[in-house]
């Protein structure tokens, strides 16, 4: 039998291949992973689809909360996913698209344009932060930038309501305030997550393209008219 300290260090014996004679070979094979954790890992196979979807949605929702209340935490960075950014990007593009579809002059941005701007822009920012010496991985950065569009998406929804309800100068002022606030919020939230990974003297260089990126999106939202 293996001694107790061997059980605590399960792979310690493998470094030394030659086996002393006083240890008999036969015995139990103890699994180092606790059985309960193992069950949790495996049980996703036969769980209902609803639970799987709900769990993923809950994870996405948790990250939304992190963006709305940006505090220094590593959840958004550690478990990155691209579902939330996809969801936000599609929502934003659809909201911006609607106006252009039913007007003749096609003044609003097209679905594809918004989509390309968001993804291409975040890829450029990510590459830039990598080139400046950031320590975040590619997809972590994409995830953060994608999730931080959320205030702007909310602002877009608000703008549509405002456009519907209030017209004229007052409506424009309300939209301007909403978009400016959400633009600031987006920039602040993303820099709170991104700037930790940068060398402290170069934060301004990383923040500038982020600022530009959200500014262009904010400008698109502000100039949208159905």
């Amino acid at each position: 039998m293996a001694s107790p300290e061997d059980a605590s260090r399960p792979f310690a014996g493998f470094s030394d291949v030659s086996i002393p004679e006083d240890i008999p070979v036969e015995g139990d094979i103890s699994v180092p992973v606790p059985p309960s954790a193992r069950d949790d890992e495996l049980s996703t196979l036969d769980e209902p689809v609803k639970e799987t979807v709900l769990r993923d949605l809950r994870a996405v929702g948790k990250k939304f909360v992190h963006v709305l209340y940006p505090k220094r935490s590593s959840v958004l960075l550690r478990d990155w996913d691209l579902w939330g950014p996809l969801l936000l990007c599609v929502t934003l593009a659809l909201l911006l698209q609607g106006g252009a579809a039913d007007s003749n002059e096609q003044g609003g941005p097209q679905f594809a344009e918004v989509f390309v701007v968001v993804w291409f822009g975040s890829i450029v920012i990510t590459l830039n932060s990598k080139l400046l010496g950031g320590t975040l991985s590619f997809f972590q950065s994409l995830c953060v930038l994608g999730y931080c569009i959320m205030p702007l998406t909310v602002a877009m929804a608000v703008c549509r309501v405002v456009l519907f309800a209030i017209s004229g100068k007052a409506g424009f002022i309300v939209r301007l305030v909403v978009v400016t606030a959400s633009f600031g919020w987006s920039t602040f939230a993303s820099t709170a997550f991104l700037s930790d990974s940068q060398p402290s003297n170069r934060k301004a260089l990383v923040v500038y393209p982020v600022f530009l990126f959200y500014f262009v999106i904010g400008w698109m939202i502000l100039t949208f008219s159905p």
Binding site: E105, Q106, N128
Partner: protein, 317 residues
Amino acid sequence: MWCPDWSVQGSGSAVIDMDDTSGSSFEDVGEMHQRMKEEEEVAAEAAATEDEGTEDGEFLGMKGIKGQLGRQVADEVWQAGKRQASKAFNLYANIDILRPYFDVEPSQVRSRLMESMIPVRMINFPQKVAGELYGPLMLVFTLVAILLHGMKTSGTVIREGTLMGTAIGTCFGYWLGVSSFIYFLAYLVNAQITMLQMLSLLGYGLFGHCVVLMVTYNIHFHFLFYAMWLLIGGLSTLRMVAVLLSRTVGQTPRLLLCGSLSLLHMSFLLYLHFSYHQILEGLLDSLEGPNVAPMQRVVRDVPGLTLNTTMRNLMTQ
């Protein structure tokens, strides 16, 4: 450990040999060596286990299997790991190639932006040009954003995808195209400038454009634009011209190089301010506007033909 031997061997063509060693063949030698060592170690381990196993007959089969399995697994893991590592290394190496050009401090960028507006009157000695791409790249993206803004406020109504694409295409096309053109000219007249320096120089030269366009897209006042065009655009052009002058020898080359650069740079600003969206609008109108009449297809002879055949049929009946 391999270098000295090779350089001694090929003393006649030392340069080529050094190139060979610095290239991929050197890595291959290193890898081969490491793999040989690895295999030796695995074999030694297996031999050791087998040696011990011979003392007790019962252990022999098991240890043999274990050694074989261990070797196989180790080999597999080693191969997979190597593949992964080389793939990751390639990706990061490509980023690392560009990294030196992005090695700047915020204060450096600020001072270079300022310097891009200050022409230095020193043409006897080559002026220093920083080879850096962060500032130029960001300025080009800023210019794209400003162009988009300008098109929106000027009420240009065209397809947005075209608008975005053209803005990006114009800015990057100007930056890359004019840089390579001037570099080509500089190469022809033997000026002392590299492609990287040219990209950096022209990129920082776009700072003046950004400032002028940002102001004049918001304040519609023709006199103001002309004043700013001459002052700010002229200053940034002069700065580039001064740098090029200091790095070129001879009257005609200088005139050729600086003349073409200043002409292109100043007219690009005019183009962006005045005719960018108008040209775009006009072009799109002529392409897909309603004034182009659809081609009329005239059906020839078919009714007559059918009539004739019907008539003939009737006649024959």
